[in-house]
């Protein structure tokens, strides 16, 4: 199956400011694609170019076999980064209206709107005006409106921002449901955990350039896993090995010390256990911890973006 969406060598500039620089990406049918990067990286700009809302300065775009998203608009659902709905319409009517604009029949649209609102816990809000809903509820309503017309492709720009943890959870569930239904999903976020849980593939961008694209697993394999080892014995023999680096003390209880270190990929778990036994190091606790996507990201784009993503991460957790 070919690419549902492909951008190749996209370049977009606002005045002298380069927003997107030689960006390429491909999303296959049925994939959940996470578009990751810190604020200002160029995610929104790329998405807008992809959907034909703005035009690129150079490069090629293709969406479902067309160069203009407008030609296949009915098969696309889009949640823009800046939210907004008709404030004086009721939730169900606004969803139905947007569905009709995407080619739905009037009755089908209102029925589907009601079903969706019910299914995602907004049944009571169906008849309420959008302006009477809380910000989070309104955002959920807008998310529902993006797939009321049963699109094949969902493009969501920062869908998790502005939601509390419970609703973020619901949204993750919703996106999993969509994946089950075989839809192709592209979403952008600057919070890596969502991507980690949901994505088949991710694209990392920073300062308008793509720095990585592949599966989450592939991304994580860029970094060696951390090993946590708790023992009462001296681990100096291990420290001296060339395949072990970055040893730090994480925790100390009585005589027990928990160490963390990085091991070379050539060092298998069996070999490590063997080395411990040989040097008389008793293992009280042993764990191999994968790097988080965040760590991979920081590793890829350098320190300067760490603060930004880190701060965001804390604010949300």
């Amino acid at each position: 199956m070919g690419a549902v969406v492909s951008l190749s060598n996209i370049h977009k500039q606002y005045g002298n400011h380069v927003a997107v620089d030689d960006l390429s990406m491909q999303v296959e049918a049925g994939q959940v694609y996470g578009f990751l990067g810190p604020n200002g990286a160029g995610k929104t700009t790329s998405i807008r170019i992809l959907l034909g809302i703005i035009d690129q300065d150079s490069g090629q775009r293709e969406i479902m076999g067309h160069s203009r998203a407008f030609d296949v608009a009915r098969r696309i659902g889009y949640l823009p980064e800046e939210r907004g709905l008709y404030k004086n319409m009721s939730a169900e009517r606004v969803i139905a209206y947007l569905g009709r604009l995407k080619g739905m029949d009037g009755k089908a649209a209102i029925n589907r709107a009601r079903i969706l609102l019910d299914r995602y816990g907004l049944g009571d809000a169906a008849k309420k005006k959008v302006k009477q809903l809380s910000k989070g509820m309104a955002q959920k309503v807008q998310v529902l409106s993006t797939f009321v017309h049963d699109p094949d492709l969902l493009v969501l720009d920062e869908p998790f921002s502005g939601l509390d943890p419970v609703n973020q959870q619901i949204l993750e569930q919703l996106l999993s449901d969509m994946r089950e239904e075989g839809k192709t999903i592209i979403f952008s976020t600057h919070v890596m955990q969502h991507a980690e849980r949901l994505c088949d593939r991710i694209g990392l961008i920073a300062r308008g350039r793509d720095v990585f694209s592949g599966t989450v697993r592939e991304a994580k394999r860029l970094l060696t896993p951390h090993i946590h080892l708790r023992t009462a014995q001296d681990i100096t023999p291990l420290k001296q090995l060339s395949v072990i680096s970055d040893v730090t003390e994480v925790n100390r209880e009585d005589t027990m010390i928990e160490w963390r270190f990085e091991a070379d990929k050539s060092l298998t778990v069996e070999r490590l256990v063997e080395l411990c036994a040989k040097n008389g190091i008793g293992i009280d606790h042993f764990a191999m911890i994968e790097p988080s996507l965040h760590e991979v990201f920081v590793h890829l784009v350098g320190q300067d973006t760490r603060q930004e993503t880190g701060a965001e991460r804390e604010a949300l957790s």
């Binding site: 809302i53 823009p80 800046e82 939210r83 907004g84 404030k87 004086n88 604009l101 409106s145």
Partner: protein, 529 residues
Amino acid sequence: MNKAIYLVARHEFLETVRTKSFIFSLALIPALLALGLFVPGWLASSTAVTRNVVIVDMTDNGTYGDRVAQELERAYARKALASVTAHVRAYALPDYKIDQSLDAEKLPSLLLKRHNDFTDRDADAFLQNGGLTWAMAIAMPFLRPGSPPPTIESKSIRLVDLPHNMDKAGLADDPASLLRPWLNGDRKLVISGTEERLHAAVIIPRGTNPAAPDSLGALGYGSMADSVQIWSDGPLSDSLSSRLPSAIDAAFRKDALVAAAGNPEILDHAGYRAPMLELDISAPEGREVTPADMIARALPRILSFMLIYFLYINMYMLMSNTMEEKANRIIEVLVNSITPNQLMVGKLLGSSLVALTMFSFTVVTFMAIMLLAGGSMFVEFSGVILGLLVNTPILPAMLVYFVLGYFLFAGIFLTLGAFCETAKDVQNLSTPVTLLMLVVPLVVWAFADDPSGSGARILSWLPFFGPFMMMARATSDPQVADIAGSIAVQILTIGGLLWASGKVFRIAVLFTGKAPKIGQLIRLLRTGG
């Protein structure tokens, strides 16, 4: 494509019509119309109770008093007769009509008359033979069965006797102090058991004679001793001032005429007239100018006024509706589903439909109220309008210009609305448009008297001026080139405005979050985004 336009229009219409403010203003229309149409009349009729007037004739032969009374009666009779014939014009059976006008061959001449056509003999016949009953008996055979009864005003002046204890001779010496307590309401007349106020007193002093045209008396500079005195507390009320002086005048004038001729028949001659037909060259064999023509002539001004009024009340709605999607940030979703131009056309149509609803509701309510009030004048008027609609291209043509004019200005509102981010922007930008809406008809009407002149022709071809100018020219056979040209220019302008508003709207998507400066937008508009 068209489906999207339909959906936007439908959305625009339904969402406006469902708002409380719209329903409220709709509900207000009948109330306001009724208030405007009836309250002044009702107030007038309830406050302007019958005016009690005493006439004191001190002349030697003492006949002026009676003649003034007679003229007052005749004036009332003429009014009543005019109401009856208006009723006939409104409700005559089709057999007695030709093209909205009464068929002169088949009707008695009395029923063909309008207010000024009724002679003293007509009035006297009315008064002597039983008034309205007599007049309706003549009219009845020609009326459609089941037509409502005519509305006839009651008499507004009642002549009363001098209070029995008043000294008539003293009135000649010092009328003011004698009349004061009566006219200012301190003392009351007793008329058939109830107390009534005296509203005016007419004193005809002994030396009063008809005044020759250049005499001081005729010019209002006569002395108390030889001029009719009309006394009242403060200025005469409207109903008195419109009837009393003219009745007095008529009595004296007729007296002079009869005296000079030595023969009362002279009065019949005074009613002679030039037989006249007003003819219109525009019909092939020339035809008589009918009331329909008069109305057709007044129609452009009425419609222009209505158009401006109508635009004015819809301006805010049109401008803020475009603003909504920008303020709501919903543009980005929409732009992905429909083109900006579809959106603008849809909005224009939807808002226009709202306006049309309001307009039709007003017209229908107005007509219903008028009909319920039983105005035969109104029935006659609407018959003429209907005739214009069916028989001539004038009214349909004017409606076309009306619609074009509406869409032109509505297009401006939409375009400006697309620039706006807040209600304040709407307010600021609406000022110059309001001025344009006032200036355009003023300029057009300056040229309307010469509808075929080059000024009028040039204005016809200009956007915005065209619809008003062509409305003004509609009754005077404008050149086909002007009609076609004007309509084409207006349609192109409307298209251009819609295109521009779509473009502005489209560009607005780029400026997410921060409101773009208008200057910035204009620059982008020029460079094509």
